[in-house]
Amino acid sequence: MIDKEFILEFYPLFIKGIAITLQIAFWGCLIGIVLGTVSGIILAKRVKILEYLVFFYVTIIRGTPMLIQIAATFYLLTFAGVSISAFWSAIISIGLNSGAYVSQIIVSGVNSVGRGQIEAAKTLGFSNYQIITLIILPQAIRTVLPALGNEFITLVKDSSLASTIGVYELTKQGEIIMSQTFDAPAVYITVGFIYLVITSTIAMGISKLETKLKYHVKR
């Protein structure tokens, strides 16, 4: 039963879990944005050689389950003698996973910016780097913001898979509480509700940002 006693007794564990989940989501998201943006530009602009490497990376990530990626990253790194905690290993694999999906979103965003604007920028003397950072990306990100929002919401939920390699994030904390209370419904409902609050907050933030940017363009 979810009652006052249950909450008072276990809230420190839930708080701990929330903190770990948010940290995984934050770092995973950051790696995903950076890696995804760079990979997306490489794919959209068809940068020689690098585009094949990115294609290979995206194919591997999209073609395998995230659970396997999280486990494989941790065990392969450990096997290779890299001393890394389960927490950071989970962040790396989640970031790598997110980067592959973000790259596809960025490709569609970059392609949505008219070729004419890019040619106009070239004739005005902008360098390729300036064209990407000043003309393409600001517009591409506006276009793909809803899709990026969805990706980050998925990332928060998928961070629960880090529990499989022993990261004490929200889901894992729930499992610990369950082993003490044997009250699966109460734990699952509470954990689910917390995820819902986190993801709804992100969705609201993205939606506000989207409205603000749209207003900016349509005024």
Partner: protein, 231 residues
Amino acid sequence: MLSVKNIIKTFYDKKVLDNVSFNVQPGEIAVLLGRSGVGKSTVLRVLNNLETIDAGSIELNKKDIDFSQVGMLFQDFNLFAHLTVEENVILPLIKVASKSRRAAQKISTNLLAKFGLKDFAQSYPVSLSGGQKQRVALARTLAMNPAVLCLDEPTSALDPTLKTEIAHIIQDLAKQGFIIIITTHDTVLLQQLACTIHLMQHGKIIETATTKELQQSKNKYQKIKKFMDGK
């Protein structure tokens, strides 16, 4: 003087420019006339380094052309959609010409006022009419102070009143000493300009005449006259 000599451009084995040559003096308006697909726009793209030539040369004042000296007004204007009118004009000045924001704003304010766009400085392109967008694009190009100004089908998106307006602007820019090259198949625009017409067909210039020569001679320049009569 801009000197285009024997330029050749091939796309997938198709010669789109076949030994095209012409000269344009400062203050002169050169018009590349012809139907769609004869290579007019390719000449402008080559002049702006958007395409490379396979053979020939392009010289400005007897030196290999420096493409930063060439400005282009696109048919679809191609304003940066995420920037205001003022930002569209000042961004290249700040980032490419390394002007201070203040100096860039001064240039922008003067040009926008000249083209009647003072009240639209903080508007976004989406809220402008076709004629206004074109003038913003022109202000953005002129702000970079080019010696050569290329205008690709400048009247294709404009109504008749605005066509007269752009014709006046072009004529005025020529008076200021710009080397102007226009592509068009709009004979109404031609009638409003004092210019040199180069009629193009299959990637070649097949006839050249000034508007004055056209008016003075009865029997010469039949190809251009036929085109202008819509035949």
